[in-house]
């Protein structure tokens, strides 16, 4: 396609900016993942829903692949285009359209950053249920399109669980509103209405089925009190059983963040900050918890969680609390972010979800890969969810020398994780080669895409579609 044609077609649509310069397009090649990027032929910064519609229609007419992205800060390759594609940049769609306290929701455009939304909600004593690990610059659109989770997950699970409804520009250019907003006059207030939950098919889809242009998110009271603590366990099995126990007893109700670490990560963090700390005294597994809510509820739940830990051989692990939460205390912030967490080192993140009983095997996979690829630095972490856990395989590497190695290692590790029952949480391009393993799920998804996107222009190859 001649780019000037696209520029001409989008002119007057509402202020869309068409970028054709190679230098501007460099920034659209990749997201934060290790997945290879492509060279797009153009990028469109949409400034209105009309711009989105016009871009989708233009791409469809010419059968040019279209990839959607906002901040591009997620780490599964879902925003990485193929060569010659158009990238639709929704980051300038960043209006907080409404904070509706009567309905208990915020209606936002996809480019709204979590930092901006939390600031506005905070002024009203409100907050979000789940804030993903992409941090202050991560966008709501990007998080729900790639299954974000993080702060709030022990209480609310995933960003998708906090979505009340969506507005989506479909591949044919039609505008769909899901949930109660399917009836225009009713607006967003109920996700499960009328019939099947259409909202769900766009969550985690990385723009492969449509372009999300509005998101209704539930909002919640901002907790008034916060306490952190850490618990150490003699082995992974005990830690896993403890997690199941506190989840079933719903002791995680006032826990807003929980991070689990294996022995190597514990040792690195503790001895890095306290070189004299006795290594033999370190537990094999630990869970760092951030509890928030009314003071008396937090104090009560903390005591119950510590008592529960002792049933599984766990004990208070104060030094990890000091070390792990030091940055949180310094930054006086309300969310956790991978940005800045891995100082001066590129890291490959392989994300998966698992049932609690899989935790010991998950850490063994990491240990095996540590032995197989000693030239890379491996670490494993868990994010506590309302049910189950989310696992992160973290591989530090030198992108100048080890990019190819880390991609091969990551793919091998991914296959091993599938074999033990871990499932990809965000798939993007990182897990795309393995998507065919999920039959008939993947075949159904492919059929659905064929119906909605007959020309196959929306994010081809992402999700293996």
């Amino acid at each position: 396609m001649k780019l000037s044609e696209l520029r001409k077609e989008l002119a007057g649509q509402g202020g869309a900016i068409v970028l054709e310069d190679k230098i501007d397009l460099l920034g659209y090649r990749r997201d934060s993942s290790i997945a290879l990027g492509g060279n797009p032929s153009a990028a469109v910064i949409a400034r209105s829903v009309e711009d989105v519609v016009a871009t989708v229609v233009a791409a469809n007419r010419r059968k040019v692949p279209l990839y959607v992205r906002a901040a591009g800060s997620t780490y599964a390759g879902g925003a990485n285009p193929c060569d010659g594609a158009i990238v639709l940049d929704t980051s300038a769609l960043r209006q907080i359209l409404k904070i509706d306290e009567d309905r208990g929701l915020a209606l936002v455009e996809p480019g709204v950053t979590y930092g901006a939304l939390l600031a506005e909600l905070g002024q009203r004593g409100l907050t979000l249920g789940v804030v993903p690990l992409t941090g202050a610059a991560g966008t709501v659109g990007g998080a729900i399109a790639s299954h974000g989770l993080g702060t709030g997950s022990p209480r609310y699970q995933s960003t998708g669980d906090e979505v009340a409804g969506l507005e989506v520009v479909m591949p044919n250019g039609e505008i769909l509103r899901t949930g109660s907003a399917a009836l225009a006059d009713a607006g967003f207030f109920a996700r499960y209405a009328i019939g099947p939950d259409l909202t769900g098919i766009f969550l985690g889809a990385n723009g492969s089925l449509g372009v999300i242009t509005k998101i209704a998110l539930w909002v919640h009271p901002k907790p008034s009190h916060q306490e952190t603590f850490a618990l150490g366990f003699p082995d992974y099995e005990s830690g896993a059983r403890f997690i199941s126990s506190i989840q079933l007893k719903e002791l995680t109700h006032n826990v807003w963040y929980g991070a689990g670490y294996e022995d190597k990560a514990i040792e690195a963090r503790v001895t890095g900050a306290r070189p004299q700390f006795e290594r033999a005294a370190l537990p094999r597994f630990c869970l760092a918890l951030d509890a928030r809510g009314a003071r008396e509820e937090v104090v009560r739940d903390r005591a119950r969680i510590v008592a529960e830990a002792s049933r599984f051989g766990g004990a208070d692990f104060a030094v990890f609390d000091e070390v792990f939460f030091a940055k949180l205390r310094r930054d006086n912030t309300f969310w956790y972010s991978y940005a800045g967490y891995f100082a001066r080192s590129m890291c490959a993140l392989l994300m998966c979800s698992m049932a609690n009983e899989t935790i010991p095997r998950f850490f063994r996979v990491i240990e095996n890969n540590r032995k197989a690829y000693p030239e890379l630095t491996w670490a494993g972490g868990l994010v506590l969810c309302r049910r189950g856990v989310h696992g992160a395989v973290i591989v530090f590497y030198d992108e100048r020398e080890q990019w190819e190695t880390v991609r091969v290692a990551s793919e091998r590790c991914g296959a091993e994780l599938l074999a033990i029952g871990c499932v990809p949480y965000k798939s993007g391009r990182v897990w795309a080669p393995m998507m065919e393993r999920f039959r008939p799920y993947h075949a159904t998804l492919a059929n659905l895409k064929k119906v909605l996107d007959p020309n196959g222009i929306m994010s081809p190859e992402v999700l293996g579609l």
Binding site: K22, L26, A71, S91, A136, F334, Y338, S345
Partner: protein
Amino acid sequence: MARDDLSAALVQGVYPFVENLYHCLRCNYCVEMRWQERGIQHVCPTLLHHNPAPGYSGKGYLATARALLEGEELPIDSLVERLFNCTTCGNCEEVCPVGLRPAHLVRQVRAAMAAQGLAPAPIAACAANVIEHHNPAGAPNEARNAWAVGLAGIAADAETLYLPGCAASCDAPDEARATVSVLHQAGLPLKLLPADQARCCGAPLGEIGYSAEADAERWQLAAAIERSGCRRIAVSGAECVPSLAGVDVTGGVEVLHAFDLVERAIAENRIDFKPNTHVPRGPIAVLDSCHLSKPSHSVAGAADYPRRIRALLERLGCRTAEAPDQGSYAICCGAAGGMPYMSPLSAARMAEGKLRSFAEVGAVAVITASPLCIAHLRRSQIRGLPEAMGIFQFIETYFRLRPMAR
């Protein structure tokens, strides 16, 4: 020139930053971010007011440099346009969670481009002004001290040498006059360099990529300082403080911002402030000039002058206001990095945006210790927006200083 020669020069420019290029997480913090607890509202003035394309961002500069290093051919005109439209304010460096240095990289690549004769015409003209007239505006150097004619407080035998800097001398002379006047009232006489010996400190040249020429100016200024016999320098230019901090003068010199002298006099109970007239009723805001508030930018940035000025204003009974973007994360007003020369309209939009942010918090005046920012904000002064004033101009207008009996 041959494309290969140019590529080699650019690679040479970016190579010192090679670690940066391969450690960008693409987290987007340097592009668009709000972080209430830290006072971050937005990050990049160029993306906000000049062009939102990612090629103009910190992340974009790193990606561009990496592409150059890896041998990709990039359109030179676009490269020039993007690299010379950075204010080099360093906000991208302040917010970077892994401490990368895109603004420093920009200066380095600019230097490589300028050395190859690729600096855009307005930037080259600015550099030529400094080289010929020793100030970026191209004002005749012999008129550099015109603001001081007949002014009490200038003494040939004073121990402190006053260097107002190019911005105060040429564009904000009322701040230079007020500085001398206020310090005179405080019993601190100042000496000036003869106009024919005065030189630019080199900071503006360094920011636009003329580092060798910047060094030449600084050496000439150092020689003039040496000849003055003074071993203490008070400057008004925020950008002059770091630039002069390393000048090579026998026996060394103490480089201070003129505001340091006021603070010292207060701390030593040597001066007393009496109101001249009623201070403005509305709140006063203090501009977080990049050179004075961003530690990544300069040694002066680490000294956080804006918070100290605010403390003085409050001590003097003024109500103060703070814009939502503040401290080391404040958005640049567009005065620096050659922006007013390269893209005057964008620079004016940056200034207007800055003044509007102060208007939104009800400020009636904006005070700064950077004459460069004062002059730039004044050029963009729009009716109804807060008035930009230098700190010494403010003190002189509303207060009278007396040396205290000892």
